[in-house]
């Protein structure tokens, strides 16, 4: 009961704040939501892995980078649109993710967390550097007219294309929700995430499930990599900043809370853009993120202590 009332209050509060921002500076909300969509759709696959396999994959951004290069080559060679290419690319990255899991991650599952962390750090370096050798650091970008799609409201003109990322994030959330709650395999994955020992007891092959989840998350991040190249340039180091960002967003949302990742991203995207809206504070926009994380984590620990 109290929970429900709280939730209603929160929704009302958020709506009010959003409306206030919309009236004050519409672009803050627009830009904020657009970057939030991008953050969230990159972070969600990582959240899936963290929630079920309980591994922090420091090479997450690099998986996206690899997918982006595959997409680039495919599209440059065939003239295919990335939104079409994302299907074959997702298949390739799923296989890639599965192989990486089998060859490396799996061996470190029983090792302490730190070993896993450094292992994926090594993977990240190797993948970036391999891309650098194959493609050099020179950036690549395909151009598509739809990326500049624009909308005029009064005096205001703004790009609408990047809203596609919010759509992708929502699709991922809904898709994962359906998968995890409606299919047997999905339920099994969720069960493994919650209690691997209990899962094995009922006959679920935990190792296979981990591999599957890894492949699924790689497919999702692969799709994201494919779409990423529509609006962004790619280069070997393009993925790495997103790894930390994703990790922090997941921590902010709380592990296992996939819809929460979108919430955290929106909070972050909008707050960043509020700072960017003022000249004097523009350079400080990056700090929002880290201050938010610390606040959320400390707040949660204090609340946890009280409970």
């Amino acid at each position: 009961m109290a929970n429900k009332r709280n939730a209603t209050m929160n929704v009302a509060l958020i709506t009010a704040v959003a409306a206030a921002i919309l009236v004050w500076r519409p672009t803050v909300l627009i830009n904020g939501l657009q970057s939030a969509g991008l953050y969230a759709s990159i972070a969600i696959p990582m959240g899936l892995i963290l929630g079920i396999v309980h591994i922090v994959n420091l090479a997450h951004g690099e998986f996206m980078m690899v997918a982006a290069y595959i997409t680039y080559m495919l599209c440059a060679a065939t003239g295919m649109d990335p939104f079409v290419a994302m299907v074959p690319v997702a298949l390739v990255t799923a296989a890639f993710g599965f192989v990486i899991y089998k060859l490396t991650i799996r061996q470190a599952l029983k090792a302490p967390e730190l070993n896993q962390l450094i292992l994926t750090f090594g993977l990240a370096i190797s993948m970036t550097q391999l891309a650098n050798l194959l493609f050099t650091s020179q950036t690549r970008k395909l151009s598509f007219d739809y990326v500049s799609a624009s909308l005029d409201i009064g005096d205001l003109s703004f790009g609408v294309y990047k809203f596609v990322y919010i759509g992708i994030a929502l699709l991922m959330i809904v898709g994962l929700k359906l998968f995890l709650t409606r299919t047997t395999t999905g339920k099994a994955a969720l069960a493994v995430g919650q209690n691997p020992r209990g899962a094995a007891i009922v006959g679920i092959d935990v190792d296979r499930t981990y591999g599957l989840v890894f492949a699924l998350a790689s497919a999702l991040v692969g799709m994201m990599g494919a779409v990423f190249i529509t609006s962004a340039s790619i280069f070997p180091a393009v993925g790495s900043p997103y790894t930390m960002k994703s990790f922090c967003l997941i921590a902010m949302a709380g592990i296992g809370n996939i819809p929460g990742i979108l919430g955290a991203s929106i909070l972050l995207g909008v707050s960043e853009n509020i700072l960017k809206a003022f000249r004097g504070t523009r350079g400080w926009a990056d700090i929002v993120f880290f201050v938010l994380i610390i606040t959320v984590i400390l707040g949660r620990s204090i609340r946890g202590k009280k409970a």
Partner: protein
């Protein structure tokens, strides 16, 4: 610790000067993981091979030893130590980032070897060098040189083409050291005497995980600039254009100053008539035999097009040094410094390199930059007029 010392000792021994004595040794440090350093080092090797094929210098062969500076000051400094003390090189070359150069300068000062620098534009590097560093030959223009030459360029362009009217200038600069110093220099050199009204805003480059230019473009659009200039990286080039178009931001001149351009930039519909600052483009082949020779040689040797002016610049560095040794008749430092001071090298950059004093240091090579424009898939030089390959197209076309 014992192990450490043993390994260090082996390390020191196991990097033998795999050189027959008699070779003239050039030590180069570039960031090999970056396209600029990679191609810079490759072009330097190309020059070395060309000179050796033509019989070398003073009957001796040139030898290039390259070490990756990894864009890190400490690695760059260690590389200098190794090149000087282990490899006993005759000259040091290379460089790209100012941050690495700052780390290398103490070591360079210690040894006083001749340095022909192909990078490091920050005035802080010049300050760190001081007036006594007569062994330091700086090919790349300083940041203030670049700013001044652009100001001069736009003055001249407006005089020659009265249709072009530039009064308000907006500089979008990436948040890092490169963007910040560009902004500072532009403000000073364009702002003086009230010739131009300058404003600017920082943005987070896509190269650093940014790539969202919305709020910056909004500020720019509100300013209604005649010239919109952005100082960022190649990763920003197309996304910024796309977002500018989406926001219907349409300045009279759209000009970029990244160190390089993305592969296939010209294939974008948005690219045509974008202007750029730079030092070299393949179009210079039309007006410079040296450029053509360099270009053809590079493509033949590496099956790739030079994508950055650091390639011809590094190529030039080798020739500048080779010419000086030839003139001096020895590799002895003081004699070569004298000879270098008399350098007159018709470089592939479309201009003759000579060394003249800069604000602090005595030996500054190139002092101006070029203003170019993407025209039908090619970077054409439009200023300085003596090396121009095309006329400017103005204004930047309205978005369709």
């Amino acid at each position: 610790m014992k192990k450490a010392s043993a390994i260090l000792a082996i390390l020191a021994l196991s990097v033998p000067a795999f050189a027959q004595s008699g070779n003239i040794k050039i030590g180069g440090t570039w960031p090999l993981g970056d396209i600029t350093g990679k191609q810079g080092s490759m072009a330097a090797q190309q020059a070395v091979d060309e000179i050796n094929a033509a019989g070398g210098i003073l009957g001796r062969q040139l030898e290039l030893i390259v070490i990756d500076d990894e864009l890190k000051a400490d690695k760059g400094a260690a590389a200098i130590e190794k090149l000087v003390t282990v490899d006993n090189v005759d000259v040091l070359m290379g460089g790209m980032a100012s941050g690495v150069a700052l780390g290398q300068i103490p070591a360079m000062k210690k040894y006083g070897k001749i340095v022909i620098s192909t990078g490091a534009a920050s005035y802080k590097v010049e300050e760190a060098l001081g007036a006594d560093a007569n062994w330091y030959f700086h090919l790349h223009p300083w940041d203030y040189n670049q700013g001044a030459s652009y100001a001069q360029g736009w003055d001249e362009i407006q005089k020659k083409y009265p249709a072009i009217k530039i009064k308000k200038l907006f500089l979008a600069y990436e948040e890092g050291a490169f963007g910040k110093s560009s902004f500072d220099q532009t403000k000073i050199l364009f702002g003086e005497g009230g010739r131009y009204v300058v404003d600017g805003a920082p943005f987070k480059s896509a190269a650093q995980g940014g790539g969202d230019y919305g709020s910056m473009l909004e500020t720019a659009k509100a300013f209604k600039p005649d010239l919109f200039l952005w100082a960022g990286y190649d990763a920003d080039a197309l996304p910024m254009l796309e977002q500018a178009k989406a926001m219907k931001f349409n300045p009279g001149v759209y000009l970029g100053a990244p160190p390089g351009w993305p592969i296939g930039f010209q294939n974008s519909k948005l690219a045509n008539n974008v202007m750029l600052y730079g030092m070299w483009a393949p179009s210079i082949n039309d007006i410079s035999a040296a450029s053509k020779k360099f270009y053809d040689g590079f493509v033949a040797k590496y099956k790739a097009e030079p994508a950055t002016y650091f390639a011809p610049l590094s190529y030039s560095a080798v020739y500048v040094y080779a010419d000086a040794v030839k003139l001096a008749g020895t590799t002895e430092t003081n004699a070569v410094i004298k000879a270098l001071e008399a350098t007159k090298y018709a470089s592939p950059l479309g201009q003759t390199i000579t060394f003249t004093p800069a604000k602090i240091i005595k030996h500054q090579g190139i002092k101006n930059q070029k203003i170019l424009q993407w025209q039908n898939g090619r970077q054409e030089v439009i200023w300085p007029f003596e090396s121009a390959t095309a006329k400017p197209v103005y204004p930047f076309p309205k978005w369709k």
